[in-house]
Amino acid sequence: MRTQQTSFWVDHPLGRALLGLAGVIAFVAIWKLAQATGWARAGTIPDPFRLPQTLMDEWRSDRLMPAVLSSLVHYVWGLGLGTVFGFLVGALAASSRWTDALHAWLARILRPIPPLAWVVFAIAWFKVSHAGAAFVIAIGVFWVNYFATWSAVRNVDPKYYELAQAFGQQGYLNQALNVVLPASAPGILSGMRTGIGQAWMTLIAAELLGVPGMGQEMNAAAGVGAYEAVVIYMLVISLVYTLSDTLFARFEKRVLQWRPS
């Protein structure tokens, strides 16, 4: 007979954190080794042990904080708008066959356009501004949410629509709020979570626009061969990402508490 097995390592938060740390340490060790043994050519990858010094330099020279703050503005707006519109358009397309047919081709034309190409239009429409950077970020986030939402809504079990119909709850908004949304929530939330990372991935491209921020600092640092500084900015981004991802995971768990587990 089975008994409830719990393991410190995978069940206790501290155990999990330690395991996570072990993963990171192993990674850094391989990195340093690659660097030290010359397996990766000299100069091509940064030295992990020089990172703390670089961090201090970036901090002291007053580049880090303004860049972080500026990027956060792009991030929050871009992520917010991209998520909202991706969700709305995806939901609309999946629930109305007219909308779906009307925009199907257009979506396929616009979908693969890269953020870097959108930068050109962003300049034309928003000049060089935070709005432009947010726009470019929003594009990337938009599509991820669009597809996740579309697919989640399409996959709602029709038996719930029957139920809504049987109890006179078939108004579009009513059905959307009480049936479609909760039924597709797992898929939609998974898309949103992907978008939280996607937004950071698009940051450099967005800030090529000419607005200051971490993306621009990374780009400049890479231009003068300061790879340690590049890594510092990546780590800062990772930190902010980890925070937002963790918060979102909590939120997701709350929203989906009705699921059996």
């Binding site: 100069g43 930068v119 300049i123 090529l208 626009l209 000419g210 621009q216 640092a221 061969g225």
Partner: protein, 312 residues
Amino acid sequence: AEPVEIGYMPIIPVSQAFLTLDEDRLATIGIQDPELIQFQNGPAMVQALLAGQLDIAYLGIGPAMVARAKGADIKVVASNIVEQISLVALGELAPYFASGDPATAFSRFATDKGRKPVIATFPTGSVPDTVLQYWLRKQLQIDPDQVEVIYQGAAQVQQSLLTGAVDGAAILEPIVSISLDRLPDARVVASGSEMFPNQPGAVLVVRETLINEQPETVQALVAVHAEVSRLLREHPEQAVTAVQRYVGGGRLSAAIVQRALENSSAHFVDDPRQIIDGTRAMHDFQAELGTLKADVDLDQLFNTRFYETLAP
């Protein structure tokens, strides 16, 4: 033997490369079927050099210094161009340079328009950025905060000028010529020689192993380089076809290419000795600005021997 790898960026300052890559000229040098790699930006080229790729490369002096400092065994054997960066100003800003002292143009603009002029250039630490800063600080001797500098890539600078998102740009050919062509009220308000006299631009670098193993090839390469540089200086119109094939992927009209080449013709200086002092000045200025992260030994960067053999 493995094919020789030649890296370049498709920009006017390395026009020598496009002429050299002509079949007949390559045959003279003794390079058969080289592998050509076209780069879109300097950092990628630096990485390729560090990773051990590329035997011959045409790139900016900035990336060349970075690559050398990071440990790439490369030598500058010839120069391509000097003083190639100009300040293009658009309709609103240009008149302030026509009507008075350039040193006060920005402040007068700010007083009239109630905002700082916006100037686009390449990322912090790039050659155009350095030249712009040098001009503001050393030549005009004004507070650099009088202008708002924004940092972009080539495509974005181009688009910013065309849409009027900026008031001007410190930038290279062919963007200068395209802007002048498409925007009737755009003007070059400061030329390269005004902004940073003897400022080094693109250079020809060769890997040390190639120098050691095939000195005769390098010698021939430099000889051809000198020959095509003379052509560019004296008959830029003859270079149009070759250059047009590469710059902008062949999408520029011959007229614009010719205009860009003619604007630059006087700057196609091939003697590496002429840019050593300029390079030092630039290096020191970058160190002063704090944008130079890498420690480079300038004496090790140049190898003028091949050029000296040609023109003692």
